[in-house]
């Protein structure tokens, strides 16, 4: 075995350029595979994580907005009605709006969530959903013109950090910053300003409108049944089901999953293409290798090598190329995946896309390049072996 290895190493190092080109083919193929699959699975993982944070015991009621209208038809009364549905424990209404926010002499458009602090806490169970205070305090019922801000708002939106005690001017009205959240990794959460529902609706003239109602069900209640009851209650109140959605986490995951499947197909397709490119790269050089070495096969046979021994020599070559190329490809693919992570964190926001190179992926990539290498070497070697030594020597 060692002899086959050393013979192969001699052969591969003798044909440096050719070996390098083959390696390059393998490396590029495997690198592409690893980085594509890591992006695909990273997207899946971070999406899953975000959706799981929603909680499996919650029902989300959102208005179905006609294009071009910003008006929601859901109101506080709807929220109260939902709270009375059997199986619903707590309800948290939410009014969200993108408003202009001033800090010192800068003005930015920032997302603002108006909530009822106590209801939100009951619905989300305090520290649930990834929120943790970094500084200051959480909102209280009756707080007026007070905000708690996400980590991104505090550190990234304005050129100077916003701190507890600072004042933000929202839609022309001054608000005191009373708390800053720790980074959650979720861009949506980190770049949002949280304030009291009534205050923000007053400033934006939204009356008793809400843009989302989140209901937490009783422990042990059947979420699908509660969902149905909520939907029926709202339907009765609104006259039809046309203007709202009632969804559970499972349904949201299913809906997003459909969109995700498209992404998966795209990245899967790219990975498949790179697999094929890699395979062709290896096969091509192996064929070249064997064709060029027909004469050598003749010499080996004339000096007493059996077909099996010649075959082993060629397959060792192929296996080495496959494994070394695969190894380098995996390493580079891993680096690319890391680079994508860094870039994604910077430009898309923390946690939006965290690529991952799993042990299984590494194993798969190495096995793949080994198998492709050997398979690609098999056929041309087999063909060359069928020549008798005399014909091979004439090559």
């Amino acid at each position: 075995m060692l002899d086959y290895l050393s013979f192969s190493v001699k052969n591969l190092s003798h044909h440096k350029v050719r070996s390098f080109l083959t390696l390059l083919g393998v490396i590029i193929g495997i690198m592409a595979v690893v980085s594509m699959i890591s992006i695909g699975s990273g997207m899946k993982a971070s999406l899953k994580e975000q959706l799981e944070q929603l909680g499996s015991d919650k029902i989300f009621i959102i208005p179905r907005l006609a294009y071009g209208t910003a008006a929601t038809t859901l109101t506080d009364e709807d929220a109260d009605a939902i709270e009375r549905v059997a199986g619903v424990a707590f309800v948290s209404p939410l009014y969200s709006v993108a408003g202009d926010v001033g800090f010192r002499n800068e003005r930015k458009i920032v997302k603002i969530y108006g909530i009822d602090p106590e209801k939100a806490e009951a619905t989300f169970g305090g520290g649930a959903s990834g929120y943790r205070l970094l500084k200051g305090r959480w909102l209280q019922r009756g707080d007026r013109y007070k905000v708690v801000i996400g980590y991104g708002v505090a550190s990234d939106v304005f050129s100077r950090d916003v701190n507890v005690g600072n004042t933000l001017k929202i839609h022309g009205v001054n608000f005191d910053v009373v708390g800053v959240f720790k980074k959650t990794g979720d861009r949506e959460k980190d770049y949002t300003i949280y304030t009291n529902l009534d205050t923000i609706r007053e400033i934006f003239g939204a009356g008793d409108k809400v843009t989302m109602i989140i209901a937490r069900i009783d422990k042990g209640a059947d979420i699908d049944q509660v969902r149905l009851r909520v939907e029926r209650r709202l339907e009765k109140r609104k006259g039809s089901k046309e203007n709202f959605f009632v969804m559970t986490q499972k349904e949201i995951i299913e809906r997003v999953g459909e969109a995700y499947r498209v992404v998966q197909v795209v990245f899967g397709g790219l990975a498949a293409v790179s697999l094929i490119v890699g395979a062709i790269g290896i096969a091509n050089t192996m064929i070249m290798n064997v064709t060029e070495r027909t004469r050598e096969i003749g010499i080996l046979k004339a000096t007493g090598a059996s077909n099996a021994q010649v075959m082993k020599i060629f397959l060792t070559d192929a296996a080495i190329l496959g494994l070394v190329g695969g190894g380098i490809g995996v390493a580079l693919g891993y680096l690319i995946s890391l680079a994508i992570n860094t870039a994604a964190a910077r430009y898309l926001g923390e946690g939006v896309l965290t690529t991952s190179v799993s042990f299984e992926l590494v194993l798969f990539a190495l096995t793949f390049s080994l198998v492709i290498g050997v398979a690609a070497g098999l056929y041309p070697a087999y063909r060359a072996l069928r020549l008798n030594p005399v014909e091979a020597l004439r090559a």
């Binding site: 001699k10 010499i299 046979k301 004339a302 000096t303 007493g304 090598a305 059996s306 021994q309 008798n388």
Partner: protein, 228 residues
């Protein structure tokens, strides 16, 4: 008889064209014989050598090497026979360029499953025997033609075969190194190896005890032996 051919016919097929290279050869070469094979280019000398060397099978007829008809052997058995009984020396040396002289000589022993240390030791002895003790780690490209052919001869001896076949071993060499190669081969014959040499050179040919002349794929004449 270590080599015995009966009615050997070899026809090459090039598409639809048939090229008869050997047309009924009967030949016996005793163990330990020194035979030369001569004849014009294209008369079938190499074809005959390839059959004796178990590199190819006849179209019809029988080729016995040490009593075994090679036409009955499968590829693996042929490889085994080549490995054990035949040492081949070619006009074009047929060394492997990326290997050193030592590694080239050790190659047949690798296929025989001899341990690395033993084959390296024997390869070194053989290279010393052919006068290349100072060229062990040279690659073929770093050797002269005569030196290369001596490496090839050392390689042919590696598995201690009974038969040494040399197809125009001096064809690519100048007169002086050609003569040295012939003398080296004769040395081996004196040590008991059956030696068959194909040559264009009449002077070299005459040195053999048994002289076979081929013409148009047939034996024209055999000298130096009482042939019934």
């Amino acid at each position: 008889m270590v080599i015995k051919l009966e009615n050997v016919v070899k026809i090459y097929r090039l598409g639809k064209v048939e090229v008869p290279a050997l047309r009924g050869i009967n030949l016996e070469i005793p163990r330990g014989e020194y035979a030369s094979l001569m004849g014009p280019s294209g008369s079938g000398k190499s074809t005959l050598m390839n059959l004796i060397g178990a590199l190819d099978r006849p179209t019809s007829g029988k080729v016995y090497i040490d009593g075994t008809d090679i036409a009955r052997l499968n590829d693996d058995q042929l490889a085994l026979l080549r490995r054990k009984k035949i040492g081949f020396v070619f006009q074009q040396f047929n060394l492997i360029n990326k290997l050193t002289a030592l590694e080239n000589v050790a190659l047949p022993m690798w296929f025989s499953g001899i341990s690395r240390s033993r084959r390296m030791r024997r390869a070194k002895e053989l290279l010393e025997l052919v006068g290349l003790g100072g060229r062990l780690h040279h690659k073929p490209s770093e050797l002269s033609g005569g030196e290369r052919q001596r490496v090839a001869i050392a390689r042919a001896l590696a598995n201690d075969p009974e038969i040494i076949l040399a197809d125009e071993p001096t064809g690519n060499l100048d007169t002086v190194s050609g003569l040295a190669v012939i003398e080296l081969l004769e040395e081996l014959n004196k040590l008991g190896k059956t030696l068959v040499v194909v040559t264009h050179d009449v002077e070299f040919g005459k040195r053999a005890r048994m002289r076979v002349k081929l013409r148009d794929g047939m034996i024209q004449d055999i000298e130096g032996i009482n042939h019934a």
